[in-house]
């Protein structure tokens, strides 16, 4: 399959051609907050960005999603299933780390127990990802430490590389390749373009300055559930949901019923929820298995770096760095992981002596 070139001024053309068939999502700037929104005008697409503040998980796992709707009539109930799951979605301009998070999402929603989350999986199946390599990663990014790469291509359908005034287009999956065939007006890429893209990839990887020994932390965490380090880690945390809500791999949700009593109808919806909230685990009896901030903070780190690897042999983090630079009290994940790595080594040394 030959690689193609998409000129930057052709984005509008691409949009116009695909918008009829797909729900077209792309990064959009709304008062400084970049998030993936359904695009109405091609001018709104913003591709010259570091990364979106709201992760693109919001497209397939929105902060509020209807599970089903119902009508209540005296004693009878009628349930209406979701009708929109077959619509095709296209996410344009997604970063490699976020694309990888979709894989983790699908992996989680299709395993654990014998019931799959068909709502998510169906939508995922009907989604085409067009990603862009990260030419200028943030200093807070650490994807290379968690099985990622600023030019990781395998989770995308089409992969673009920003060459300055144009994009190099590579078809990755079959879905992507057939899409390229459809866009017959794309010009062919030259040898020099490919070379430039390789150089950019190399440069980007070098630009990731944060290195974390995540695998080491996984090992240490297996035995540090009771370690006093958690007191220290959770001290500054205020218990808000920023880290979880803006994490591309956090899947937890709450289910609530909403009734429009005057119209005798209602809907059951799911909304984002976070393990940092005290209420998250509180039982009706009043008992709360994770009653303190220490336990809740521990659960978040353990979930991503111990439970997730234990269950699926994968890290539950994609290294996007959102929780690092958006935490209100700067409770830096990188620092936390380094602390975990360090403390244990000290103890090992003691044991040797």
């Amino acid at each position: 399959m030959e690689n193609k070139i998409l000129k930057k001024d052709q984005i509008g053309k691409l949009y116009n051609e695909l918008v009829g068939e797909y729900k077209f999502y792309a990064p959009k700037n709304h008062k400084g907050n970049i998030s993936f929104e359904q695009i109405e005008k091609p001018e709104d697409i913003l591709l010259d960005y570091l990364n979106s503040k709201i992760p693109p998980k919001s497209v397939l796992f929105p902060k509020m999603e209807v599970l089903f709707e119902y009508t209540l009539d005296d004693k009878d109930v009628e349930i209406t299933d979701r009708q929109d799951l077959d619509e095709k979605t296209l996410i344009f301009g997604i970063r490699p780390c976020d694309a990888y998070s979709f894989e983790l999402f699908a992996n989680f929603f299709s395993s654990h127990g014998n019931v799959k989350d068909e709502i998510y999986l169906k939508k995922k199946e009907n989604t085409t990802l067009i990603g862009i390599g990260c030419n200028t990663p943030r200093t807070t990014c650490f994807c290379t430490s968690v099985n990622g790469n600023p030019f990781k291509k395998d989770d995308m359908d089409l992969f673009l590389t920003d060459l300055g005034d144009s994009y190099l287009v590579e078809g990755i999956s079959d879905k992507g390749k057939s899409l390229i065939e459809r866009l017959s007006w794309l010009s062919n890429a030259k040898e020099a373009d490919l070379k430039k893209s390789e150089e950019l990839a190399k440069k980007a990887e070098e630009a990731i300055v944060t290195k974390i020994d995540a695998k080491g932390a996984v090992k240490i965490l297996e035995t540090s559930f009771e370690h006093p380090i958690w007191d220290e880690i959770s001290e500054a945390c205020v218990g808000c949901g920023t880290c979880a809500y803006l994490c591309p791999t956090c899947t937890c949700f709450d289910v609530i019923d909403e009734t429009d009593q005057y119209n005798k109808r209602g809907r059951r919806i799911r909304i984002w929820d976070t393990c940092q909230s005290c209420l998250y685990t509180k039982e009706t009896s009043g008992h709360n298995p994770r009653n303190t901030k220490i336990q809740r903070c521990r659960n978040r780190i353990m979930h991503k770096f111990s439970y997730y690897p234990k269950n699926y042999d994968l890290l539950g983090c994609v290294g996007c760095g959102r929780c690092v630079y958006l935490c209100p009290v700067n409770n830096d994940l990188r620092v936390i992981l380094n602390k975990i790595n360090k403390i244990e080594k000290k103890e090992e040394k003691k044991a040797v002596v």
Binding site: K75, V77, I79, D117, R270
Partner: protein, 279 residues
């Protein structure tokens, strides 16, 4: 595709008030569609997410046994929004049921063994399911001796008095009932569950014990059983947690890397000792 969050619709067939203070009711549900009842294949110890459409959902252990065909039963204590809603429901009301969820009591692994069922208070519902299942003529021959020890605060709190009477009449099951403090007209044992277990002293040879009840009862009973030489893999427990989805997706019911809703709610004591103490 099938949306895993859509409940089967059922109708309330009967409501039984189980105790004097009127905060525990057993609700019998009949599926609106016969084929959905066929799909709802369960074993004792599993639970279902039952929902009052418009109020919400909550996980409740199934109190009926699969051998009691036609309907399913739930014993519900009035606690929060949804359970209070159930208490005000009437015969004929529509109730959603999603499930069955969880692993249930390992009835296959229990075959050929003596079974000791120890329950305290309101937690007896899935034990009722288990005992009825074991006593069913199709299954009784697969299991050894059955002992039931059931403790309550006072005589008015004893659930399922009708089935208990039936069991007492049979000679292939030993039923020990106890209450915490003496009360007028009570002819059975008196005392907390743990000392009664010590008194009855069920043998641990080729046996499995199922323990369900409030945390303090479980703690004391397990201490007694360890004294009586029961191994941790012989003692089974059923855990509770706040749950939303019941199918391992919403995330909140984890203990370590296990989810109570899919890997549990039944865990052996040996399994629990491996997991962090966060339940």
């Amino acid at each position: 595709m099938s949306n895993p969050y859509i409940p089967y619709l059922t109708k309330v067939k009967s409501i039984v008030t189980e105790n004097k203070v009127n905060d525990i009711k057993t609700i019998e549900l009949e599926f609106k569609k016969e084929e959905e009842y066929k799909k709802f294949e369960y074993i004792p110890g599993q639970f279902a997410e039952i929902s009052l459409i418009g109020k919400g959902e909550c996980p409740i252990g199934i109190a009926s046994s699969p051998t009691e065909e036609g309907t399913i039963k739930f014993t519900i204590k009035k606690m929060g929004t949804v359970t209070t809603g159930f208490h005000s429901s009437e015969i004929g009301d529509i109730i959603g049921v999603r499930g069955p969820c969880g692993n249930g009591w390992p009835v296959e692994d229990m075959k050929g063994k003596n079974i000791v069922v120890i329950g305290g208070g309101f937690a007896f519902s899935t034990l009722r399911s288990l005992v009825i299942y074991l006593l069913d003529e199709k299954h009784r021959k697969d299991y050894g001796d059955i002992t039931v020890i059931y403790g309550n605060r006072d005589p008015g709190e004893v659930l399922y008095t009708d089935v208990l009477e039936e069991w007492k009449k049979r000679d292939d099951i030993k039923v020990v009932l106890t209450i915490d403090r003496e009360a007028e007209g009570w002819t059975e044992e008196v005392g907390f569950v743990a000392p009664i277990v010590k008194k009855v002293a069920p043998s641990s040879d080729n046996a499995i014990a199922v323990v369900c009840g409030p945390p303090i009862m479980i703690k004391t009973t397990i201490a007694v059983m360890e004294e009586l030489n029961w191994g941790p893999e012989q003692i089974l427990n059923s855990l509770e947690a706040r749950m939303k989805c019941g199918i391992g997706k919403c995330g909140r019911c984890n203990i370590g890397n296990k989810f109570i809703c899919t890997d549990g709610p039944v865990f052996s004591l040996a399994e629990l000792k491996e997991l962090p103490d966060e339940y």
